[in-house]
């Protein structure tokens, strides 16, 4: 066994749990937790989008909710206003968010650090207020709801639709899983390694002939795509789009999930999101100031486990195997 195998085992365990959750969860907790779990999976993609930028290319974005919002409104407007079917609306949402990432990224990735963070907030605020005020299209404060079109229909009678909870759950799992698989492939590619060099040392990266700007922009567009898929799924999940989910508060939450889960680890965001949403669900009813607890957790994690829970886990696994193999095991560095 190598650390790599242990990590793969961990991924298999998460995947198995996710696939069997509709049977496992009701045994222990109320059935609505299946729904909450699928919502967590969607939100984890938003955290993953933050993580792709912060954990792998070193860009801290506080504006990923913008692309989430584009995916969400793309689906809702596509169905309610344009009359698109399920798949075209899904595609429209993702296209909208990816295009938005390309346009805003074109300007944003010229900057780094706090300048980059600020410009991402500014972009997301601009479109948040646009969505609020453009009532005929977005529904403004009320949001925009729609009736779910079927995924596939055969004739008049039979149709597969997300109105079936099982179909909805597995559709979300499939799409979220596909996004993680895509990110996994990209991060293990030459491009993924180039991402890390830009995070580690952008001057050295340029000096060995890497186009740092294009690498950052590519990462930004992929992150926008992932956030867009999350937003589109969330619109399907709630049959609804609302500007509330585009506010920078939502972006900030995603940053917290990513950092607690472990920036720079593929599945860290799932861990962070699951943990913090569970906490929210359990505590917010009991104690309205539950965010203090979240704050304390963030401080403790940032001080004692700067690489988040994911990093803590990798460190533990590596240490155990370093001992047994005299430090000859390759470190995966969170690929």
């Amino acid at each position: 066994m190598t650390p790599d195998k242990i990590n793969r085992l961990g991924i298999v365990a998460v995947a198995l749990f996710t696939l069997l959750a509709p049977w496992i969860l009701p045994v222990f907790v109320d059935e609505f937790w299946v729904d909450i779990y699928s919502e967590m999976l969607i939100w984890s993609l938003l955290a993953a989008s933050v993580n792709l930028l912060f954990g792998y290319v070193g860009l801290l974005s506080f504006g990923q909710a913008l692309f989430f919002g584009m995916g969400m409104y793309g689906v809702a407007i596509g169905i309610a206003k344009i009359g698109l079917g399920f798949w075209p609306a899904f595609g429209f949402g993702i296209l909208l968010s990816t295009t938005m990432a390309l346009i805003t990224g074109f300007l944003a990735v010229r900057l780094t650090w706090h300048y980059f963070a600020i410009i991402t907030v500014v972009f997301s605020l601009i479109f948040y207020f646009t969505a609020l005020s453009w009532k005929p299209l977005t529904g403004g404060d009320d949001g925009l709801s729609f009736t779910m079109p079927p995924i596939f229909s055969f004739g008049e009678e039979t149709a597969i639709s997300l109105t079936d909870p099982t179909v909805q759950y597995y559709f979300i799992v499939l799409m979220v899983g596909a996004c993680y698989a895509l990110m996994g492939v990209v991060l293990k590619s030459p491009l993924g390694r180039a991402f890390r060099t830009v995070k580690e040392n952008d001057m050295r990266a340029a000096l060995i002939g890497l186009n740092v700007y294009m690498i950052r922009l590519t990462a930004f567009v992929i992150a926008g795509f992932v956030a867009g898929v999350a937003g589109a799924l969330f619109a399907f999940f709630g049959r609804y789009a609302s500007a509330t989910y585009m506010f920078y508060h939502v972006s900030g939450e995603a940053v917290v999930w990513a950092i607690i889960g472990g920036a720079g680890t593929l599945l860290g965001p799932v861990v962070g999101t699951t943990l913090l949403i569970t906490l929210r669900e359990e505590l917010s009813d009991v104690w309205e100031h539950y965010l203090i607890v979240v704050g304390v957790i963030v401080i403790v994690v940032v001080i004692f486990a700067p690489k988040g829970l994911g990093g803590l886990w990798m460190g533990m696994v590596n240490r155990i195997f370093d001992k047994s193999a005299n430090g000859n095991q390759p470190k995966e560095g969170g690929e």
Partner: protein, 251 residues
């Protein structure tokens, strides 16, 4: 252009506020010779390297590499033409393994915008990385993070990263700065060996080392080229002695 001139620097000017860091620098580097740039602190040596490699845009003047005008070209494009450099403050990818450091530098020649290919399947980059690990004596650290290396090994790794890009010209900015005597000797030996197959320009403060390894010396002072010649010529140049080496007999 004469075919032996790999690098030509024409009337380069660079100002920082009111200070003229480079005040009309004219110089060239001949292929097949190890050229050293010396000069007191603030002479503009590193600024000149920054202008050549595209990190700083010059206020005036031109830089030609292999006969091609590279003034104002982006840093990564200049690297792709075959110009590599190390930095005065050692600069590697700290959080990546030694092997990954060399691998990405080699892969930069084949392109990195390959999102659906496995990095570990890039056989050429793998080969270059392994070969350089061996050549630099870093094989035992190949899978360790660069941050864990000793100072001397980081300096070696930085040279290795530059070599992995298969440069035609290598600029070394104070490669032995901060090294002990044993490390210095090893590094000087490596530089001398490298000079047999790659053109090298070196900025160095250690005059002994400069006179030992270089074929050609360029002396800079106050943003200008003060003198140029073989080590023997430079050591007897009266102007250089007053401006830089001091009037004593220790040079």
């Amino acid at each position: 252009m004469s075919p032996t001139q790999i690098l030509e620097i024409e009337d380069i000017e660079k100002h920082f506020g009111g200070l003229a860091a480079l005040d009309g620098v004219n110089a060239h580097v001949e292929s097949g010779k190890l050229t050293a740039i010396i000069g007191p602190n603030g002479a503009g040596k590193t600024t000149l390297f920054n202008v050549i490699t595209g990190i700083l845009p010059p206020a005036a003047g031109r830089v030609k590499f292999l006969g091609q005008d590279i003034t104002n070209k982006p840093v990564h494009e200049i690297s792709k033409l075959g110009l590599a450099r190390t930095l005065q403050i050692k600069s590697v990818f700290n959080g990546m393994t030694v092997r990954e450091n060399l691998w990405i530098a080699a892969q930069s020649r084949d392109g990195v915008f390959k999102p659906f290919q496995r990095a570990s399947a890039s056989s050429r980059a793998n080969q270059v990385a392994d070969q350089l690990c061996e050549e630099l004596g870093l094989t035992q650290f190949a899978n360790q993070e660069a941050a864990n290396l000793s100072y001397g090994d980081i300096a070696l790794l930085e040279i290795g990263i530059a070599l992995a890009t298969e440069p035609k010209l290598l600029l070394l900015d104070e490669p032995i700065c901060g090294m002990g005597p044993a490390e210095t000797e090893q590094t000087v030996e490596k530089i001398r060996n490298l000079a047999k197959r790659i053109d090298i320009v070196i900025i160095e403060h250690d005059i002994e080392v400069v006179f030992e390894v270089s074929d050609e010396v360029i002396v800079m002072a106050q943003g200008k080229v003060l003198a140029r010649g073989t080590p023997a010529e430079i050591s007897t140049n009266a102007e250089v002695r007053t401006a830089y080496l001091g009037d004593d007999d220790d040079a």
